[in-house]
Symmetry: D2
Subunit: 388 residues, 4 copies
């Protein structure tokens, strides 16, 4: 057994807004004092994180004077240098300011749409300044409370125009930067456009430069829609579009809970870690979560350490599963292929189709085979529970 | 006010399995006797439907002798001729027979995958024989109860290979036929791959012949995931991928209820009808639903008539909304554009970016504007309730 | 058709926190300036409300000096007198201050539990001072993020002890006041105890003075759990426990949306209004909702007026449904009773049991009857849509 | 570590319908041949179960001749004697036959209501004949698809009358039998009355003989509504009403999945086992689940063994949690009580209220304490994962 100490190759990152969350929620005020970006970097250094991500306004408050901004950046950079923490990703806050109350890129107001573009260009510049290679878009206000108020077809066009503009901006600036789009079904809007990672992947395929745009799936966001997160991530991964990932946890069909990774469903977290590791995912493992509101900053550190430890424990279990002889024998048996059907697969040909149409099948015999999935899943559960 | 009589141009269709549903469910046996396909066509004729759709085995049971199959087809064709009912769509049943207990195209067993291809080619031939122009794929068993048992990346590859093969089969046969893929998040499997219309659109973009493949979104299936159905349909429509649609209704986060169109949420049904009619959707409006289990065949007719009547009432209300002066004045005000931002939109240029970066914005003034969405939505509600 | 003007007998009330909501949410800051309690009363007067409800700290901020408190109360009372608005209900804020971060009556910290009792006694005094006859308890923080942290059996005992203490306090003070307990399944806690109106009714039955404690069901809270709200309210009503009700709306399985009454599901809103009116519910119809964040205070008034108008429109439709001859004929037929079974119902006796055991039943004949529920529901839909 | 072999004191039971489930679902036919009740008892004997439960028609099909019934009972009894398996619980099937298509006790048809009473009395006799001490009621059809069709207040009264009648029947027969009512929110009806364990507990409090009626909560049923199952069971347990329990698992907000115990959420299963064991629950641990449809009868045995093994592993972990010094130190600290508030708790008195009103509280100091819940929960996760 390892001691589950985070290593740089794990690429564990946290947003400033995660460990910096002060615990305000719709029914209560802050429970933790606000820390500076620099102090948050030091906290992340203390717990062993690899990187830190930021929204423009996590680092530089929206109303700050230029001189003050420079001072903040200087402090932040010093803390980065001091701790060795890097900035792999940045993003724009297009949801907190009242100007975005009806969306940013999809707002019905052209002034808001223009301002959102301006703000994002500036935020991209800021991200690149700190070395970010991935730029995340989460359109938290791009939606409606009622479809009386916004044309959903028009909203898609507005969103696409903005993304195309910003892709071209990045190309024009010759930035080494890719975009990762993050879906969420609802909250804070009644419904948010491009509600799942699937919708986002489909949207990307319609852009001018799809090759520079991928996704940033978040566990909690897909769980809000009760979807199997592993399946959505597998689709992104198989399509070469998994540019970033937001790890956390939450119950299905609930408000955005943003709990510690693995805090709700250890089994689905296990399959997720296994998918990422088996497929050699090599971008950031970003924990987009925050500590319970019951915690002080010692609890925030416990939270951050817990995210990383649980990931590493599950990574070890994934390796154990792959090495378990009884499990692997079952997997082999389940996927057994006697080769007799080989001639029908692969690229279509008229001959294949003709031959396949003539092939007799003993439906009952094929159907009668017990697949031993209860046994395989129980073995998996026992790996998870540490009793194998 | 019209009398809400279905017209051919409404293209109202029903599957044989909808009005032919005998009311079996996981907790109880049939409550209605099975009718023949021909009798179901006559029932649809009686209620004023335009078309009928079928799975291969709705028409020809899976174990039927060839001679018997011919007799069934003859009866069915006679009923079509007699009633004037057409067959716009057909599909394959890849879920009822025990051979598909672990999926069809994504089964771990190569024999099952090969058989699924064979069955689908035959079913396509049958559909084309009756004039179908749209071929629907609903992969009801393409999923898992636990990700211990199937590799989700491999499943995507298997699914894609099958779709590519079948696209080429259609091209090879020179059939005038397009595919429409139907998503569902779960049931009867614990989780089903390509769980939403969004995921399906993304999958289509990775096929060899994406131009011949679109989607068949179903109200109930997206509602199971608690998603805004109108937004998903708008995305398909805007991408030119709305080849077919399954109309019904159900509560969010429930088992597959398949209720009469409009039976649960009249407001979302209204926005859906408005979206389809405003955008001149011209394929089938297919009611993929069934009567409550409390009903006899008179009740089945009430159910079918109700689906169509509610659609037509909502269509009338959509036209009323578009013509309502107070509503339209609000819509115009909400989307007001003084043209001052015009220079920043459209195709990117370095000059635009530069000019936009220099543009001052009065955030507070822009944010302060009340958007009157409560008022607009209340007017919409009052159109719906018939009090305007 | 009436003009849907609110009347005092409708007992339409709003909380100070509803029309006074400034639009802060987990992802964004306020969009409306804070109004004083007195100004909110005047706003309610302008839109035609009957009453206003408050939490202690809506009226008197938690840190206010006694002299300031008296000034606020004076202003508030003047606004009440000026507008004729009454205060039928009051409640305690046991969730906003950080001291309640792990609950109030169920906190693991005895000091918090004691302070919660003290705060509630003071708040009861304040409510009674303004004439409240109903006192609502919503234990927004009484729950957990993980059951590692609090013993759920112990939590029930703590909650009961607090309620018993406060019932006795009211009796001791000879206040004419009843308690109404409000359930919510989650948010802001991961899970909240007594998660539905059903659980709350069961809890009440275990109190020392159950006769003075009823429930305050809220549409949005039961919809968060995807439950049929009408059924839960009917149970409370039938048990004589419907002391108050919180009207609003929201989609199933989502964050707490608190939308305008009827904004999501008009059909369930209709059945709710019909249930209340048919059963002559005569306590407050409290709209516990708030305007969209896109609105200014004109929009807040639109929101408040919309809540009341939709209720009155639905009330009119309920009367129409009760008077519709075709509908009533169906209802009569559905509930037809030939009296032949009369001897088996009512109070048990050995003779009845014996006779009933000997009674032959023709299962098939009874089952064969079509119940015409599709037809009845379609007629209901058409009443709702205003086309009958 | 134990070898997790089921022992009689674990009281592990299975319904005939669980291991006897043939795998039919709404989209497919049976995948396993039907076994006789006697053979199912032998299968349960082989896997080490303690008891078997049945619906009347699991044992005796609804249309069987009396002589055949006697033969079935004889075979069943022999298998019980042979294996030592007992029958702790029985129940009535009031949902499969078409006669119950609109409910049993709440049907609008008096004949159906009378027949349901008759069928239940006979089924009670049958259960008692085989030694059942608990009689479960699951009213699978007691609900509606639309509230147009049944009066929800009337439905409660009908349900209560039936339960009172049947309680009196049991008393009249001097049976040693208690009732356990099982809630479910929906499926197979659109909505089912008494939708959660909470609603059921509240309903019980209104019966003539509440002391002989408790609940039978089912994991899957409460998870369908996205509720914390542990909290609902704790409420029943604390009220002395946990007469029986149905263990299984499923994702929130889904169709009724009835998976193997622990198959979805190991953490909530852990807290459940801990609750039952800590509180010395001593009735049946009934696994109301069934094997995946991919399985043959070997897989059914794997399923049944898995249910029991996972329970026993979690029981061991619960004991480990209770014995873990670091965890217990945290629990003690979290619940620390310096006694200073002692005078304010317990039974109300005017003096207590007065003293408590005068007690000063340092809100900020109390709120500032970090509660260490992240740490405690992470330790819990690590116990679960077997790395402590």
């Amino acid at each position: 057994m390892s001691d589950y100490t985070p290593q740089p190759e794990n690429k564990f990152t946290f947003g400033l807004w995660t460990v910096g969350n002060i615990g305000r929620d719709p029914f209560g005020g802050p429970v933790r004092e606000q820390k500076t970006p620099a102090d948050l970097v030091r906290l992340l250094g203390e717990v062993g994180a690899y990187g830190v991500n930021f929204h423009d306004n996590d680092l530089i408050p929206i109303d700050v004077m230029p001189s003050e901004a420079e001072a903040i950046k200087k402090d932040f950079r010093e803390a980065l240098d001091e701790t060795g923490i890097v900035v792999p990703m940045a993003t724009t806050n297009l949801f907190s300011d009242p100007i975005f109350k009806d969306g940013a890129f999809t707002s019905n107001d052209p002034k808001v749409r223009a301002y959102a573009l301006q703000k994002t260009m500036n935020a991209i510049d800021l991200g690149v300044e700190f070395g970010a290679k991935i730029y995340v878009f989460w359109g938290g206000r791009e939606g409606t409370e009622t479809d009386s108020t916004k044309n959903p077809v028009e909203a898609i066009k507005r969103n696409r125009e903005a993304m195309n503009f910003l892709c071209d901006y990045v190309r024009d600036q010759k930035y080494d930067l890719k975009f990762a789009l993050e879906a969420k079904p609802n909250e804070p809007r009644g419904d948010i456009y491009n509600s799942t990672t699937g919708h986002m992947l489909a949207f990307i395929a319609t852009l001018d430069h799809p090759e520079m745009v991928g996704v940033n799936p978040e566990v909690a966001h897909e769980h809000m829609a009760g979807l199997n997160f592993v399946h959505g991530v597998a689709q992104a991964l198989e399509a070469g579009k998994l540019f970033h990932i937001d790890l956390n946890d939450q119950a299905f069909g609930r408000y955005d809970q943003d709990f510690r990774f693995g805090a709700v469903n250890l089994k689905s977290a296990f399959f997720l870690v296994k998918l990422l590791e088996d497929n050699k995912y090599d971008s950031s493992r970003h924990f987009d979560a925050h500590a319970y509101r019951t915690e002080d900053y010692e609890g925030v550190k416990d939270f951050a350490r817990g995210c990383m430890r649980t990931y590493l424990i599950l990574k070890e279990k994934a390796a154990q599963w792959n090495a378990d002889k009884e499990i692997q024998a079952l997997v082999a048996e389940i996927n057994a292929d006697d080769g007799s059907m080989g001639g029908y697969f692969g690229k279509y040909s008229s001959e294949k189709a003709k031959a396949l149409k003539a092939q007799p099948f003993d439906r009952s015999a094929i159907a009668a085979r017990g697949l031993q999935y209860e046994r395989l899943d129980q073995l998996t559960v026992e790996v998870l529970l540490g009793v194998r």
